[in-house]
């Protein structure tokens, strides 16, 4: 093995591929998060049909194989509904987002259920509406519990983006195969390992970046619980009989 590095123009291919990968990841993440929140809350709804629909979606989204889902959405669905095959990037992101939503919904549901009941009761005592309860009291506290597993899930979706190479998108995986074939032609080494290890390293780096972003979010969230300084030295105020000394 001469070197672990590839030629510059091959890295350009990988960089273009990385751009597609990141795009799909971001779109899928946005869709996935929206679905997770909506469906996770719906799983706890008072109305049975809402709960049932949410449950059905979660079971199917979690039960299906990502690649089969991708094929169905990217290939079968457009034909089934007589739609023009929209941009592959969109279709791929939708498939991955739907997949992510199923797992994310369970994370959201679990975290909402982990919030002590006293918080909900205090909000009822203050006469907050159910939506206000969710928005101002429950979800902000649930975020703490949601973030770590959501980070892991996002990395799983990153790995899932490699599947879009199978429906024709030129992401990192597709670029890797192209480079591999080029190298066969160039006969620049039967060292399969070099090309794929480069690809694996890129994914690994992306995964660590995602990890870092989530840790940052967790850290910033913690600060909300920390609070400021006490305003005035309590001791310098007039003692209130029975209350302070």
């Amino acid at each position: 093995m001469d070197s672990w590095l590839l030629a510059p123009h091959q890295y350009e291919l990988l960089a273009d591929g990385a751009w597609i990968t990141i795009q799909i990841l971001v779109y899928a993440f946005i869709l996935g998060v929206l679905l997770s929140l909506a469906v996770g809350v719906a799983r706890l709804s008072d109305r049975q049909w809402v709960r049932g629909l949410a449950f059905g979606y979660v079971e199917i989204a979690r039960g299906i194989s990502s690649i089969i889902l991708l094929f169905i959405i990217a290939i079968a669905v457009p034909i089934l509904f007589d739609v023009n095959q929209a941009s592959l990037v969109v279709l791929g992101s939708v498939a991955l987002g739907l997949n992510m939503g199923g797992y994310g919904a369970e994370i959201v549901r679990g975290s909402i259920q982990a919030i002590p009941r006293g918080q909900t009761e205090a909000s009822i005592a203050l006469n907050l509406s159910p939506t206000q309860r969710l928005r101002h009291v429950v979800l902000p506290q649930a975020m703490r519990i949601i973030l770590p597993p959501m980070g892991n899930l996002t990395i799983e979706i990153l790995k899932g983006t490699a599947l879009v190479s199978l429906i024709g998108l030129t992401d990192i995986m597709a670029a890797t195969r192209t480079i591999r074939n080029q190298r066969l032609v160039d006969a620049s080494g039967a060292d399969v390992t070099v090309v794929f290890v480069n690809a694996l390293v890129i994914y690994f780096v992306l995964a660590q970046i995602i990890n870092g972003l989530f840790r940052l979010a967790e850290w910033r969230l913690e600060k909300r619980y920390q609070g400021g300084e006490a305003e005035v030295e309590a001791a310098t105020r007039e003692p209130i009989p029975g209350l302070t000394k």
């Binding site: 009822i124 907050l128 509406s129 619980y225 209130i240 029975g242 209350l243």
Partner: protein, 269 residues
């Protein structure tokens, strides 16, 4: 303190502040409240005592709509809580109606239930801004006033995690006061506190009682406090009111055997 005149601010035309009729509540096979009838006059301070599991907390929770009664009616400030007028009778109320009546009720919990992701001041400001539509400045000014009245103005920007139990409970009381409820419910608010912190909370409660603006219902084990503050003491056991009367009677000269044995057991340590 003597029982005040019925306060027309709280209930129209001398209607009872809280009236429960025939309230049943069971958890599984456990009948916690049995055909309960209860009247509380506006501005009255009622203390409920009794052994654990007797259902005294459930009374408060059913008024605060944290539990729904299986049968019976509850009126707050002259308005039915769980029912609406329908022709000449009553029908079960919609959520909107319940919410509208609930705005007159407030509750302070044994375990504080402060929102840990907000500062003390923000805890107090939330309901006035989101539910009562006050401006943030108005809510902030009023919030600081309330914090000051419970002696915690300096802690306005601190989060519950930074406060002691007694401080947290005082913030919780201020939070409830901010919604200006006509009926305030206190569920064993000192039971979770270390002994040396109980006094500061009881002082705040005495202040509220003295102002006489809201009706107060307290479940507590603090007999000394009950003796000082209560207009009426209810001894509750096995889902029913065993004895009711002024503290001088129920606490010092109980008529019922069950009251006597309960108070005896409480005094033993």
């Amino acid at each position: 303190m003597s029982a005040p005149e019925p306060n027309p601010d709280i209930s129209p035309k001398g209607a009872a502040a809280v009236r429960m009729r025939g309230v049943d509540k069971a958890f599984g096979s456990n009948a916690v409240l049995r055909e309960l009838d209860l009247d509380v006059e506006p501005g009255e301070r009622v203390v409920i005592i009794g052994p654990s599991g007797s259902g005294k907390t459930t009374i408060l929770r059913v008024i605060m709509t944290l539990e729904r009664p299986d049968a019976g009616t509850i009126e707050v400030g002259g308005r039915h809580l769980y029912h609406e007028a329908h022709g000449s009778g009553l029908k079960p109320a919609h959520e909107k109606h319940i919410r509208s009546v609930r705005s007159d009720i407030g509750m302070v919990f044994q375990h504080f239930n402060l929102f840990p992701h907000m500062t003390a001041l923000e805890n107090i400001m939330l309901a006035p801004v989101k539910v009562h539509g006050r401006s943030r400045d108005e809510a902030r000014a009023r919030g600081m006033e309330l914090l000051d009245s419970v002696g915690l103005a300096h802690a306005a920007n601190q989060t519950p995690g930074q406060l002691s139990g007694g401080q947290k409970q005082r913030v919780a009381i201020a939070r409830s006061l901010a919604t200006e409820p006509k009926v305030m419910l206190f569920d064993e608010v000192t039971s979770a506190l270390d002994p040396e912190l109980v006094g500061e909370v009881l002082t705040v409660l005495r202040d509220i009682a003295e102002e006489g603006r809201s009706t107060m219902m307290l479940v507590t084990h603090e007999m000394g406090f009950a003796r000082d503050v209560a207009d009426k003491v209810l001894m509750f056991d096995a889902g029913q009111v065993v004895e009711a009367g002024p503290p001088s009677q129920v606490l010092d000269d109980p008529q019922e055997e069950r009251t006597r044995s309960f108070l005896g057991a409480v005094r033993e340590h």
